[in-house]
């Protein structure tokens, strides 16, 4: 590591330490609220997985959800595009607003919602189709049929996900031939192809080697100028590197939320401090 460049600090304005929920992050709070959860309870059958979560996600920022396994961060993430609807016997109380509109109110078009709120999963899950068809899938189900338009979307999204140069000449090859890191970037390209506002990422780099992880993190940093990103991660360093805002979940409760720099340098709660310094979890 002789020529290791100093890690560029992604500075957000540190704020004065305040009690957890009332903590007011100036720069983040000035941004438009893209997604807002208001007092969300979530149940798997009779088991309550989330307790009164209220969280605001500012536009064009990366919000990291951290916490030990089983703390509810993935469940919360999946509430944001109603992915939990597909699991039987689940119920949600409270409101989740996307641009001020409750996505859980009656008559919400879930299909439309999921086009606006894209998702990248923990394990890369490309369809057993060609690279091209993977990216074109979203636009196709949205009704785009013109080959020229699809070509353009595929190229743009693969470029955005920094994969274009590697696959440019083999778009018709099976996506399953790509390496793990490439597959995950393909999944990101696929999610971008529906042109979402919000991108949810459920531990997108947890199954990848350090180099691919770095590529994904760079990508997240690039993407946030156009997208609002919510990322679940187990990796504290990753949360510190990529996110602007961090929310710490513990046993279904939101313990603390605040600007990342602030939270990592000056945690407001003992539990947060213990977790991010690696004393448990």
């Amino acid at each position: 590591m002789s020529e290791a460049a100093p890690i560029p600090l992604r500075v957000t304005t540190p704020t004065v330490r305040q009690p957890a929920v009332a903590r007011n992050v100036t720069e983040l709070s000035e941004r438009a609220k893209k997604v807002a959860a208001i007092d969300v309870d979530f149940f798997y059958g009779t088991h309550q997985a989330l307790h009164g979560i209220s969280l605001e996600v500012p536009e064009n920022c990366v919000t990291a959800l951290i916490g030990p396994s089983g703390c509810g961060k993935s469940t919360f993430l999946r509430c944001l595009n109603r992915m939990n609807d597909m699991i039987d016997e689940t119920a949600l109380k409270g409101q989740i607003l996307l641009d001020g509109i409750d996505i859980y109110q009656r008559g919400t078009d879930v299909v439309e919602l999921r086009k606006r709120v894209g998702m990248v999963f923990q394990k890369s899950n490309p369809f057993p189709k060609s690279i091209y068809e993977n990216v074109a899938y979203g636009p196709r189900v949205a009704g785009i049929k013109k080959r020229a338009v699809l070509d353009e979307i595929v190229e743009k999204c693969l470029q955005q996900s920094a994969l274009w140069d590697e696959v440019e000449n083999r778009l018709d090859d099976s996506a399953l031939q790509l390496s793990g890191g490439q597959q995950q970037r393909l999944c990101i390209a696929r999610a971008l192809a529906t042109n979402p506002d919000v991108l949810l990422m459920d531990e997108p780099a947890s199954a990848l080697d350090p180099k691919s992880t770095a590529a994904i993190e760079d990508l997240i940093f690039e993407l946030k100028s156009n997208y609002t990103i919510v990322i679940v991660t187990h990796n504290m360093q990753q949360a510190a590197r990529v996110s602007d805002q961090t929310a710490f979940f513990y046993e279904g409760h939101l313990v603390e939320v605040g600007s990342t720099t602030d939270m990592f340098t000056n945690p407001g709660e003992k539990k947060t401090e213990d977790y991010i310094t690696g004393r448990f979890g």
């Binding site: 992915m83 597909m86 299909v111 086009k115 998702m119 369809f127 899938y137 189900v141 999944c187 999610a191």
Partner: protein, 310 residues
């Protein structure tokens, strides 16, 4: 000296040890014998088929057998062209597939993608029941129930006709298609469905665009296995399809399949050892090669599917 003590114990227990070894040996031999019986049986059957067929092909050339368009070994003048029987078998296999494949695939997709667990718990055992109905029952149902309906709808139809056989055989092979296809559909990883849903796909998009294509090879294999069953099906076609070897593509005429011909000769007065008698071995061999290759291809496809998801 504990080591010597241990050795003494070993020597002392040698008698018991021997007994145990003998017992293990016997067990091994018995189990081996079980395995050998089934292998020998298989080899024996194939050998008999081959030897008797060889005898047959001394009198009738393979060329004549495979390309002749008339089959009348029991009547003078004798003709030994298997094409009419092959055509009968083909008609039944094709006709039953036309019925079983759409219904079977539809049922499988419904069960795996759409049906609530309660419905699945009711339908799956019912299909097992369907699979358990003896084929002879299907046979006389075809004659007493399906055939009159066909005659009503198509007055030109004969009493014994390929159509009624096709319909009942179609229902016989339905459980094969449904249960195998449903298995492969359900083995499509949940993550693929979630990926598609997360892209704003509707249930129909996910089913038609992702799940079914991902399971396609397995579905194909289920079709092949079902067709192999239809080809080998005997009782229902013997009862329903008639006994008239005919080179025809009409579903409303009386035909004869390879299997039905074998039944006809086996139960009839044809003396053993004659040329007429040996025809059933030649036909049996043809049938065997046919169904074996269908099964082999289907198994090969199914194994490839398993590898893909494991």
């Amino acid at each position: 000296m504990p080591q010597i003590a241990a050795t003494e114990v070993l020597i002392a227990s040698r008698g018991r040890c021997n007994l145990r070894t003998v017992f293990e040996g016997i067990l091994h031999a018995v189990l081996l014998a079980c395995a050998v019986v089934s292998i020998i049986t298989t080899v024996g059957i194939v050998l008999v088929l081959l030897l008797e067929s060889l005898q047959f092909f001394r009198d009738v050339s393979v060329w004549e057998f495979l390309t002749g368009t008339k089959w009348s070994p029991l009547l003078k003048p004798q003709h030994f062209g298997i094409l009419p029987l092959f055509c009968g078998t083909f008609l039944v296999a094709a006709g039953s597939s036309v019925i079983a494949i759409p219904i079977g695939l539809g049922t499988a997709i419904f069960l795996s993608e759409y049906a609530p667990p309660v419905v699945r718990d009711i339908v799956k055992p019912l299909l097992e029941v369907l699979a358990g109905i003896p084929s002879v029952v299907f046979g006389y149902l075809a004659v007493v129930f399906v055939s009159p309906i066909i005659k009503e709808l198509f007055p030109s139809a004969e009493v014994f006709n390929a159509a009624s056989a096709c319909i009942v055989v179609g229902f016989m092979i339905l459980p094969t298609i449904v249960s195998l296809s449903e298995d492969v559909l359900r083995s499509v990883p949940r993550s693929l469905r979630e990926a598609a849903y997360a892209l704003g796909a509707t249930k129909l998009d996910v089913t038609v665009g992702v799940v079914v294509p991902a399971a396609m090879s397995g579905i194909m294999a289920s079709f092949l296995l079902a067709i192999a069953r239809a080809v080998g099906e005997t009782m229902a076609v013997t009862l329903a399809a008639g006994a008239t070897p005919k080179l025809t593509l009409s579903f409303f005429e009386s035909i004869q399949t390879m299997t039905a011909y074998i039944v006809q000769v086996s139960q009839g007065d044809t003396p053993a050892g004659t040329l007429e008698y040996r025809t059933i071995f030649a036909v049996g061999l043809t049938l065997f090669i046919f169904t074996l290759s269908l099964n082999v291809v289907a198994q090969w496809i199914l194994n490839r599917v398993r590898e893909k998801y494991e």
